[in-house]
Symmetry: C2
Subunit: 161 residues, 2 copies
Amino acid sequence: MHGATHHLTALERAEALCQTRGVQLTPLRRDVLRLVLEAEAPIGAYALLDQLKASRPKAAPPTVYRALDFLLEQGLIHRLERLNAFMGCTEALEGHDHDHDHAHDHPHQFLICRGCGATREISDHAVEAAIAAAAARGGFSAPRATVEIEGLCAKCGAAKP
Amino acid sequence: MHGATHHLTALERAEALCQTRGVQLTPLRRDVLRLVLEAEAPIGAYALLDQLKASRPKAAPPTVYRALDFLLEQGLIHRLERLNAFMGCTEALEGHDHDHDHAHDHPHQFLICRGCGATREISDHAVEAAIAAAAARGGFSAPRATVEIEGLCAKCGAAKP
DNA sequence: GTGGCATTGTTATCTTATAACACTCACGAC
DNA sequence: GTCGTGAGTGTTATAAGATAACAATGCCAC
Ligand SMILES: [Zn+2]
Ligand SMILES: [Zn+2]
Ligand SMILES: [Zn+2]
Ligand SMILES: [Zn+2]
């Protein structure tokens, strides 16, 4: 299936990124990242832990949370606040030839389908600009925004109405 | 102090809104709403519970969560996903003469200061429009967005840089 | 080798949220 | 009257998400 090469590529990208930055994508962190990428939708820490235990019986909550913290710091994954779940960063791992330093913390938004749970990361400049303007108007500086848009994806929207 | 009349007014608005809708703002729900409004920043469910116990020793987690669920459904409060906390809805309770039906679920965004925790609700049409456009471009319909903008408020931005 | 430093293991605990069931009370049907 | 019925609340227990604290390992520099 195409997912395999897709994930391999993403993991290789992650590896390269970490080497460039002089940080270690250890086997544990790599495994957690792989599990996040293999999930079809954002996945919670304890679901990850369950799966991780298959190959690492010693895993405990701190095991997975520390790996997730690392991946978040490196911008390899994002956290979905509404879902208490995590997903891979499209920008960092499916690279559209962007500046890699940028991937550390780039403006992004999520489209979450309330029908099937499918979630997509986007990076909409108009949204980002409007938010920056609104923050400035409110006297806020150095804004970083959590934007999670919940609706029906094309597939679910066509099936239901 | 002016806070007292401010809160009284907000509670009276809530009362009127509930009567119009044929739902009950019971003493318990009213107490929880009052505590949310009295807090200077978004407040968590268990902090509310602690304060609620002062007047209602029998209160337990479901007590406060059920009241919060009601207040959320009626649009009298909002939930801040990043903080796991709640605050009063400026639009519904400090009424700018908007349509009251609108208050049930209106577009809104939050400005959260990472310095002092002060949080402000805004309703920025440009942000809302940009989000609606981005969602449509992604094939998503009926979008409702969680927008939480974290930065430094004017006070904290002036003190630190 | 010894002293840091990063990583992982291990145990315990904390915070946030919900499930499940019992009880009361108000209201209308009969 | 009394018998549902339903909304609201009380009560107990548990699920789900996250972190604190300390020990053990492995690696590299000196
Ligand atoms: Zn991303
Ligand atoms: Zn869908
Ligand atoms: Zn509001
Ligand atoms: Zn501030």
